[in-house]
């Protein structure tokens, strides 16, 4: 039993990682209706920026703050420079642009920092809380806490600030938002900046665990997709819950279902996605009317 609970705890730890990236995915989808394939790579790039700051001798927390700022500006710039020219083009065109961005960012990171793994400091202590035969790593705990805090901050931003209200207005009805005087273009850029910042948090959380290298986020992205689909692509809360569920399901399946084993456990997100979509196409927390694609 303790072993089972332990697997659940570990699954939650993995799930928190997926959730953090899923949050960033969902943010951009909410505002622009496109799935950003480059999200994981941008997160990876942010982690490299943090690494670079630390390599230059900055302490972790300062590096973190600077990285978040750089990522925010970078995200806005990408929207303005890369995405803006294809605004109004067919959705698929925009999606393919993000695929191009994916390939570009991945290769650029390898070019700049090489494909060898980098040592990334873990902001959380190494030990674990032991209780009742369960062991809960501080770093797992830390990740869950950070994801929780990010989600809380996003909630405050969206529900209790003017900017957040404006962003939600743009997400729900861009042309009407324009009429009430919201600068829609800038709001979209803001959404990208925000997503890039959340992605940066994800990248920095993930880097000490998976080890930093250009392909670090490739595997995570798929699970983040599953998480976002599960939770509903328009719901940040859903993304987090979806991430946790995917993490636990995948871990349990890999550990206890003999046939699945560790090689076929990537199939678990597939099955989850299929079932959820067939039963409830809008995801657990999504609204039915949002199928934009």
């Amino acid at each position: 039993m303790a072993g089972f609970l332990q697997e659940i705890v570990e699954g939650l730890g993995a799930g928190a990682i997926y959730a953090s990236l899923a949050l960033a995915l969902v943010l951009i989808y909410q505002f622009t209706g496109i799935v950003n394939f480059a999200q994981g790579e941008l997160a990876m790039f942010s982690a490299y920026i943090a690494w670079q700051f630390m390599a230059a001798g900055l302490p972790f927390w300062l590096a973190l703050v600077l990285t978040l700022a750089v990522s925010f500006v970078g995200g806005m710039l990408i929207e303005r420079v890369v995405i803006r020219p294809v605004e109004g083009a067919p959705e698929l065109t925009v999606v393919i642009v993000t695929v191009g961005l994916f390939i570009f960012v991945n290769a650029a990171a390898g070019w700049i920092w090489s494909f060898l793994i980098k040592d990334f400091p873990n902001p959380f202590p190494g030990g674990a809380i032991e209780a009742g035969g369960l062991s809960l790593g501080y770093s797992t705990l830390g990740i869950m806490a950070v994801v929780g805090v990010v989600m809380g901050l996003l909630y405050l931003l969206f529900q209790h600030t003017k900017v957040g209200l404006g962003m939600r207005a743009v997400a729900s009805n861009p042309s009407s938002a324009r009429l009430v005087g919201i600068r829609v273009g800038w709001t979209l850029a803001l959404g990208w900046g925000l997503a890039a910042t959340v992605g940066a948090v994800s990248g920095i959380l993930v880097a000490p665990l998976l080890f930093l290298e250009p392909n670090m986020m490739g595997g995570v992205l798929i699970y983040a997709f599953a998480a976002a689909t599960l939770g509903g692509f328009d719901s940040p809360v859903g993304a987090v819950v979806g991430g946790l569920v995917v993490g636990v399901a995948e871990t349990l399946a890999g550990a206890y279902v003999g046939f699945i084993g560790s090689d076929l456990k990537v199939g678990v997100p597939l099955v989850i996605i299929l079932f959820i979509l067939l039963l409830r196409p809008q995801g657990l927390f999504g609204r039915a009317a949002v199928e934009r694609a």
């Binding site: 209790h160 600030t161 209200l165 404006g166 938002a177 009429l179 009430v180």
Partner: protein, 256 residues
């Protein structure tokens, strides 16, 4: 038409892509007036409003109280005090009624503090925006009872009231109404027009209303223009237009 009109439009041309819809429209509206734009489907009435609020690209001259609006972006024009209630109401469906209303005041700078921070402290009231919320409630008491409700759950008439209420939150100098009667029961429509009239009288808000229901529009308007194929074919006071039976038949499609 007054000499130094509040809103002047001179030789306005606009369209979508290659298709030209407005072919040189000129008109003037005096401060505090209600101006009705009438005409058949596809005449360019909606495009005219969209041109005024910056939603479509225009050539020509648009001036509001002397300030040039042509070629400005919608948000800049909104900041100038132009509130546009689009056809189909432009409701922010997933947001609450209150949020919809507050979005109307998005560009106003006279608000004292961020609403959210106040909410967190559990206090409310005090700012000009809150006063305006109260004002909208007096016009549309039904909205007050639904403040926390999701806007998408409102009936069509309530959504139209919400849309107008949202526009009033801007404390607009110019209110653009596009087919407010569309899809509503006659009783509701009459009530809406009564309120528009009241707003106009109490707050001296200039109104340009596009309407299929010419009878209703003319009942509150001071002047009217008939648009056909992107050109103004007839202008005059509301009484003149209403009195001209031939006009009524050929352009408005109804008998007075």
């Amino acid at each position: 038409m007054s000499e130094n009109a509040f809103l002047t439009v001179t030789d306005l041309r606009a369209g979508y892509g290659g298709a030209r819809v407005l072919h040189g429209v000129s008109l003037a509206v005096g401060q505090g007036e209600i101006c009705a734009i009438l005409g058949p489907n596809g005449a360019g009435k909606t495009t005219l409003l969209r041109a005024l609020s910056g939603m479509v690209r225009v050539r020509g001259d648009v001036r509001l109280d002397g300030a040039d609006l042509s070629g400005r972006s919608p948000d800049t024009i909104a900041r100038q005090g132009v509130a546009h209630v689009p056809e189909g109401r432009g409701t922010f469906m997933p947001l609450t009624v209150e949020e919809n209303l507050r979005l109307g005041a998005f560009v106003r700078r006279d608000r004292r503090s961020l609403r959210g921070l106040r909410d967190l402290r559990g206090r409310r009231g005090g700012s000009a925006v809150d006063a305006d919320l109260e004002r909208v409630h007096t016009y549309f008491p039904v909205l007050k009872t639904r403040l926390k409700q999701v806007a998408g759950s409102l009936s069509g008439g309530e959504q139209q009231m919400l849309a107008i209420g949202r526009a009033l939150m801007l404390r607009p100098r110019l209110l653009l109404l596009d087919e407010p009667s569309l899809g509503l029961a006659p009783m509701v429509t009459q009530e809406l027009f009564r309120i528009v009239r009241a707003v106009n009288e109490e707050e001296r808000t200039t109104v340009v209303v596009v309407e299929q229901n010419a009878h209703l529009a003319l009942s509150i308007a001071q002047q009217a223009h008939v648009l056909e194929s992107g050109r103004i074919v007839l202008s005059g006071s509301a009484e003149q237009i209403r009195a001209d039976e031939q006009v009524a038949q050929s352009y408005l499609g109804y008998r007075v």
